[in-house]
Structure formats: structure tokens, C-alpha cells
């Protein structure tokens, strides 16, 4: 009996040790990933919840082509949120190991640049990816602080435009699309009623609010950050922008009150249901969502207004910014030992054919000029989006932008209760702008190396 018990105990112990060993080895494998395998490239991209199947297909196609041309494999890694993206990059920067290539949002490029962990593209590097001149010059606007100091290789373009329900506009007798923010408000008023609203706006979205305010402020000549080190949030142009944005729901009544708690997808759903005339902050990624919806065949894209609120024409110092320079940049980690492979990968996905395929699957516009021209020729209805791409302007290229963006959104987040009650007073708005100004300036004051 004693012997049997000991044997059983020994077996259990042996199994436990074996399991622990296996787990440890597995853990080592996970930690090391392909880091030690010179024949596997690690590429990190954002997860695509809208087109997961297409993403899988694209990854398979890309990896197969990469293996055919280079003999190397690709290990895909994904992040599901901006926070996860930040965490992954921070961990890699500190540890000096991680993915070899990252696809990062354009507005995150300045922060990535500030870490100094990514390859600065010189003439040799641009040649290695197929040449700098293959890219639309506008798409390089947020690749680095200057033309000679760039880390971001443009990969996909997602300029913001507005979707317009042509049927509702026609019913309201509107024949011309608005080109000023005031005209947009008036047209929205004219199309509100009978269960429909003039605009679908997502006040609780984590990103939309700052894009509206940034756009209106740029049109008035305010770039939010002046000279790379001065915050300009507590200014008339920005206050007018917020006032216009808030009034749509509190005073003008052109936005559904429920939109105070909406994110962008919910606003898109309202537009897709045919319940809103304008959806003024969307990209080509909405194409598939609108396919087969109540507005299919009854909508078109249009440029966002470029004349600031309260004006009939853009002031002399106003900026014709139809959208932020939006999309993805590829950056190559400088700690990696597989930079040649990394550039091979970038070259492959930057080719006109690969870029056209990317548009076909995900609706995101190419940054490759040749591919962009072909797509524009083949899809005349996308002309406004192509035009928006050309009129896109970069946000301030500073490592502090991430924090400034948060401050701009926070003004709206903290105003939500007043939006709900029907009025954000001037005092409340000014107080929040002062807080945002203080936070943004404090972030800018902490910049090192000139913010880069």
C-alpha cells in the first residue's frame, strides 16, 4: 500500500515537473517569439474588427508573397486599441526587443519619433523601400519633423469626409453642398424634422470631438500648437469651434439628444438607417457598412467645410484643412537585426498592386501615387475623398500631441452633463478651455530635444 501510494505520488510529481517544464519552454518560446529566428519577420498592426476575415486573407496573401520573394516568414502581431499599441511600443522601446515593423496611426508618429527607437529614413533606406517619390507628397506630411528627418513610411490613407444623404437634401430643396460650417448648420436645420436629424454626431467618441474642433480651429488659422511649443487652446477660434459643436445638439437641435452618449459607430448607424442628412466625420472605412443599408445608393461623400464658424470665407491666415492627415505609417524598429527584411516587407506592401489590393479589401486609400491615381480614375464617386486626402493637414509634430489630443477630448467629456441638460454656459466652456490650455502647455513645457 505504501509502495503504491509512493508510486502514485511520484507519477503525479513527474507529471507536474513535466508540465512545468513544458509551460516554461512554451513561455520562453512566446517571449522570444521569432526574435531569434533570422528568417521570420515580426510585424505588428492594429486588429481590424470591421473586416476581420479580409484582414486574415490579406495577411495570408502578404505572407505567402513575402516568403516567395525573400524566403522568410512573417509573424503577425496585433493590438486591439490605441492603449495596447502604446503599451506594446513602450515595452519594445525599453526592452530593445519586439516586432521589427509597426503599422502606427499617423497622429502617433510624433510620439514614436520622440522615443528615438525607429529607423530614420535616409536615401539608402528610401531606396530600399522602392523610392520616396512613389508616395503622394501629402501623405509624407506627418512622417517626421522635416523632410530630412522621417521615420514614418506612408502605408494607408483615411482622410475624413462627410457622408451626405442626397435624398434628404433633395427633399429639403438643398441643391449645393455646404462649404462653410455655418452653411452646414443651416442645411442641417433644414433637414431636421419628421423623425430625421440634420447631423449624426458622436459626442462620446474618444476621437471625433477633437477632430471637429481641430478642423474648425485650423480653418480660422489656429493650429492648436504654435511654433511647436505654445498651446493655443484658450483662444477665440477654439472657443467658437466648441461652441458650434455644442450648439448643434443644445441650441440648433440638429442632432439627436441621444448622440450625447454615442461613439462614431452609433452615429454611423443612425446615418445608415436614413435618419440623418449629414454624417460629418467618416472615412472610406464606412463604405462597407453603408453597403446594403437603407441609404445604399442614396448617399455620397463630400469634403468637410473649410471656412470657420461665423465666417463666410476663410480668413487670410486660415488653413484649408479638410481633414487631419489620417491613416497608417509603417515604422521600422532600429533595435531589430532584420532591417533588410523589414525594408523588403515595406517595399512589397507599398507597391501599386499591393496598395490597390489593400483598398479593395479594406476601402483605405493608397499612399502610392500610381495606385491612388488608378483608383481615383476607376471610382469617380471617391473623388471627394481623394480631394480630402490632398487637403489633409498634419497635426502638430510634437511628442506632446497625444496628451494635447486628450485634453481637447476631455473638454467634451466633462461637458456631457451640461449637453444633456441643454446648455454649456460660456463660463463653463471657458473654464474647461483654461484647464485644457494649462494641461497642454504643461505637456509642451516638458518637451525635451525640442519636442522630438
Amino acid at each position: 500500500m505504501r509502495t503504491r501510494r509512493l508510486t502514485a505520488r511520484t507519477v503525479v510529481g513527474a507529471v507536474a515537473v513535466a508540465a512545468l517544464t513544458a509551460l516554461s519552454l512554451q513561455g520562453c518560446a512566446v517571449v522570444n517569439g521569432s526574435g531569434d529566428d533570422p528568417n521570420t519577420l515580426r510585424v505588428m498592426m492594429g486588429a481590424d474588427t470591421t473586416y476581420p476575415e479580409e484582414r486574415k486573407q490579406w495577411q495570408q496573401e502578404t505572407a505567402a508573397e513575402f516568403e516567395r520573394t525573400t524566403g522568410a516568414k512573417i509573424q503577425w502581431e496585433t493590438y486591439s486599441s490605441a492603449q495596447e499599441e502604446l503599451t506594446a511600443i513602450q515595452t519594445s522601446v525599453i526592452s530593445g526587443q519586439g516586432p521589427d515593423v509597426y503599422a502606427i496611426g499617423t497622429t502617433f508618429t510624433p510620439t514614436a519619433y520622440a522615443t528615438g527607437a525607429f529607423v530614420e529614413m535616409g536615401a539608402d533606406e528610401w531606396d530600399a523601400v522602392g523610392g520616396k517619390d512613389q508616395f503622394d507628397p501629402a501623405s509624407l506630411g506627418i512622417s517626421g519633423p522635416s523632410a530630412s528627418k522621417q521615420i514614418g513610411i506612408p502605408f494607408a490613407s483615411r482622410p475624413f469626409v462627410m457622408a451626405v444623404n442626397t435624398e434628404l437634401l433633395e427633399r429639403a430643396g438643398i441643391t449645393e453642398l455646404p462649404t462653410t460650417w455655418d452653411e452646414l448648420t443651416e442645411d442641417a436645420k433644414a433637414t431636421t424634422g419628421g423623425g430625421t436629424y440634420g447631423m449624426a454626431v458622436a459626442y462620446a467618441d474618444g476621437f471625433d470631438p477633437w477632430k471637429f474642433v481641430w478642423g474648425m480651429a485650423e480653418n480660422a488659422g489656429n493650429t492648436i500648437v504654435a511654433d511647436g511649443d505654445t498651446a493655443e487652446i484658450d483662444a477665440d477660434a477654439v472657443e467658437n469651434a466648441y461652441r458650434t459643436y455644442f450648439d448643434w445638439v443644445t441650441k440648433d437641435g440638429v442632432v439627436d439628444k441621444a448622440a450625447i452618449g454615442w461613439n462614431n459607430a452609433q452615429a454611423l448607424a443612425q446615418f445608415a438607417d436614413g435618419k440623418a442628412a449629414f454624417f460629418p466625420m467618416t472615412t472610406t472605412t464606412s463604405l462597407n457598412s453603408l453597403k446594403g443599408s437603407a441609404v445604399d445608393g442614396k448617399y455620397e461623400y463630400a469634403l468637410l467645410p473649410t471656412v470657420p464658424p461665423g465666417a463666410t470665407e476663410r480668413p487670410a491666415d486660415g488653413i484649408e484643412a479638410a481633414s487631419i492627415l489620417s491613416g497608417d505609417n509603417l515604422v521600422v524598429a532600429d533595435y531589430g537585426t532584420k532591417q533588410d527584411l523589414s525594408f523588403d516587407f515595406v517595399k512589397q506592401v507599398s507597391s501599386p498592386e499591393a496598395q490597390e489590393r489593400y483598398f479593395e479589401l479594406f476601402g483605405q486609400l493608397p499612399t502610392n501615387t500610381e495606385a491612388a491615381d488608378r483608383i481615383a480614375d476607376a471610382n469617380p464617386d471617391l473623388a471627394p475623398i481623394v480631394a480630402a486626402g490632398k487637403l489633409s493637414k498634419p497635426t502638430a509634430f510634437t511628442g506632446a500631441w497625444s496628451d494635447i489630443q486628450l485634453s481637447l477630448v476631455d473638454v467634451v467629456v466633462q461637458s456631457i452633463p451640461q449637453l444633456k441638460s441643454g446648455e454649456v454656459t460660456d463660463d463653463q466652456l471657458r473654464k474647461r478651455l483654461q484647464d485644457a490650455q494649462r494641461d497642454a502647455q504643461s505637456t509642451l513645457d516638458r518637451q525635451k530635444n525640442g519636442g522630438l
Partner: protein, 339 residues
């Protein structure tokens, strides 16, 4: 008579003779303390070293510009701590976190105790009910947060059922929404500990109470609650600690930036780190949080120390006193009936 007392007197005197005056007794000196070494090293590596590194980081101006060579980031002494207290929403977030933790714990204790008592007696399906009670506790916080985020939308099921038009995820109502979700997720923990406490009540005590004809309230008040005092104290402390440190629920429910009414400590620290890249400041905030958490933790450790072995539940003396209190009126009743 105790075991010590039965030991032969010669043996006891021998012990006294071999011990050099002023030195540790032999039986203590011979303890194999070296066996604590692996545990000690592990504690050093897992707890002490990261804590010291955290303290060091809290004194650095560590951000996106210095992240790569973080060891050579500018040393700023206590400036991050000063900024955390004077120029950040830390104090506000401490108030939010602590008040939420206390409120949620105060609500969950009666719910947990009631649930434990409701499943104490045998009835058909008791196992199923006990399992159902544990569902909120075993569901991952991320899943719970996502469910509630959907239900608390302006046009979500909560507003539909209540017939209200409240913004639960923004503004002041978000505080109560977070408290409600935290209550939903954390009451089963109190229930579990209460159930464990109830299991510790001797069967004889129940039988004695039944024989004595004790009313249900007297039984609860004088038998059950004294037994639950220990487990419930622990439940309260751990619940407060857990709720102060709750990151996932507010993060998933409200996203970033948080409405100011739910600007809790863990998320504030996260934002400082991973949104603003102020790693030094966030380390300082985290250390302040540690101090806040250490207060109930200290009480918790004291409670654990007091609540071991024979000390679990009421003391023997207490039990005797309680039984006397209970049996006295019962005996009087019986005596009265006899007369």
C-alpha cells in the same frame, strides 16, 4: 493539566542548565532558518526589487523622450510626488476610489451574508443556486464591463426597463453606475467568505439552539453573527482593497478620458503612464496608492494574525457566555412551562 506540566521536573531543570544565560534557547537556535532562504530570495526578487525600482522611477523625469535610456533620465527627487499632490487630480481620485470602495463594501456585506444564509439549509437545487450566485464572481471583469457598457447605453436595456433617460456612462450618474456594477461583481466574494464562516458553526450549536427553542433572530444575533465576525472582517478589508484597486471595470465602462466623477486612482495612474508617458509621475502616484492601500492592508494583516487556529469564530469564553445568555431565558421558559 497541560503537557508542559506533565513533563518530569528533572527534564525541565536540565533545559535550564544547558542554556547559557542571555542566549537564544537551543531549540530556537537549531531551527533550520536557512530553509526560508528560497522564499526570502523570491520575495526579494518579486516584491522588494520592483518596489525599489518603482521608488527610483518615481524620482526620475521619465517620459517618451527619456524612455529608451531610462536609467539616465534626469533625477528630480520628490518633484513627481509634489506634482502628484498639488498639480494633478490625485487627491480627487483618492476620494473617488475610497468612497466607492467603502460604499460598495457597505452594500455587498448584507447582500453576501443574506445570500450565504439563504443557502445554508439543505433544499432541492441548493448546489445550483450556490453555483448561480458565483457567476458574477467568476466572470472576467472585462466581460462584465463590456456587458454593462452595452446595457447602460443611452438607448440600452437599463434605461428601457427603468423608463428613464439617464446618461449612465457620462456625468454624475456614472459614479452610481460604476458603484452598481462593482456591487454586482463583488458581492459573491462576501457570500463565499460568509458561507465559509457558516460552515464553521458546530452542528451541536444548531441542535442546542433548536432544543432550546431559540427564535431565528436570537440565533442570528447570538450564534451566527459571532461566528461570521472573523470571516466578514476579512471580507470587508479585502473587498475595500480590491475595489480601491479596481482598474478594469471603470476602464472598460467609460474609456479614456474618464468622466471626472469616476476618475479613480488606478485609471489615473494608467493615463499618466500610457497616455501621457509620464512614467515618473505615474510611479509616484502608484506609490501614493500603495500607501492608501497599505492602511486597510495593515488592518487585514492584523486580522489574519488574530484569526487563526482556535481563535476562529468566537472564543471559547465568548461561546460559553453566549450559550449562557441563550439558555437562560430558554431554561426559564421551560421552567415556566413545567410549573
Amino acid at each position: 493539566m497541560t503537557a508542559t506540566e506533565t513533563r518530569p521536573s528533572s527534564q525541565r531543570s536540565h533545559r535550564h542548565e544547558v542554556r547559557p544565560p542571555g542566549k537564544t534557547p537551543l531549540h530556537k537556535r537549531e531551527r533550520p532558518l536557512w530553509m526560508l532562504l528560497p522564499g526570502g530570495v523570491l520575495m526579494l526578487v518579486v516584491i522588494v526589487v520592483p518596489l525599489l525600482v518603482g521608488l527610483y522611477i518615481a524620482m526620475l523625469d521619465l517620459d517618451q523622450y527619456t524612455l529608451r535610456q531610462w536609467f539616465s533620465a534626469p533625477f528630480v527627487g520628490l518633484a513627481n510626488f509634489a506634482e502628484a499632490f498639488t498639480d494633478s487630480p490625485l487627491l480627487h481620485s483618492i476620494w473617488i476610489s475610497v468612497s466607492l470602495a467603502v460604499l460598495v463594501t457597505a452594500v455587498t456585506v448584507p447582500i453576501g451574508v443574506a445570500a450565504a444564509i439563504s443557502t445554508q439549509n439543505r433544499f432541492p437545487g441548493r448546489g445550483l443556486v450556490r453555483s448561480i450566485y458565483l457567476i458574477p464572481y467568476v466572470l472576467p471583469a472585462f466581460v462584465v464591463g463590456t456587458f454593462f457598457r452595452t446595457m447602460l447605453q443611452p438607448q440600452g436595456v437599463v434605461n428601457s426597463v427603468l423608463g428613464t433617460d439617464v446618461l449612465w456612462l457620462n456625468g454624475s450618474a456614472s459614479y452610481w453606475a460604476l458603484a452598481a456594477v462593482m456591487v454586482w461583481t463583488s458581492w459573491p466574494f462576501v457570500y463565499l467568505l460568509s458561507l465559509a464562516g457558516l460552515q464553521a458553526v458546530d452542528t451541536e450549536v444548531h441542535e442546542a439552539a433548536a432544543l432550546d427553542g431559540v427564535t431565528w433572530w436570537a440565533k442570528l444575533r447570538y450564534i451566527i453573527f459571532p461566528y461570521l465576525r472573523g470571516p466578514l472582517s476579512l471580507a470587508v478589508i479585502i473587498s475595500i482593497l480590491h475595489n480601491i484597486n479596481n482598474f478594469t471595470l471603470p476602464f472598460v465602462l467609460f474609456g479614456i478620458p474618464l468622466p471626472s466623477s469616476v476618475e479613480v486612482m488606478p485609471v489615473l495612474t494608467y493615463i499618466a503612464s500610457f497616455q501621457s508617458f509620464r512614467f515618473g509621475l505615474s510611479a509616484a502616484m502608484a506609490i501614493c496608492s500603495l500607501v492608501i492601500v497599505a492602511i486597510p492592508l495593515f488592518v487585514y494583516l492584523r486580522a489574519v494574525k488574530l484569526d487563526t487556529g482556535d481563535d476562529a469564530g468566537p472564543t471559547r469564553k465568548q461561546r460559553r457566555a453566549d450559550r449562557a445568555t441563550l439558555t437562560a431565558p430558554a431554561a426559564a421558559d421551560i421552567e415556566g412551562a413545567r410549573a
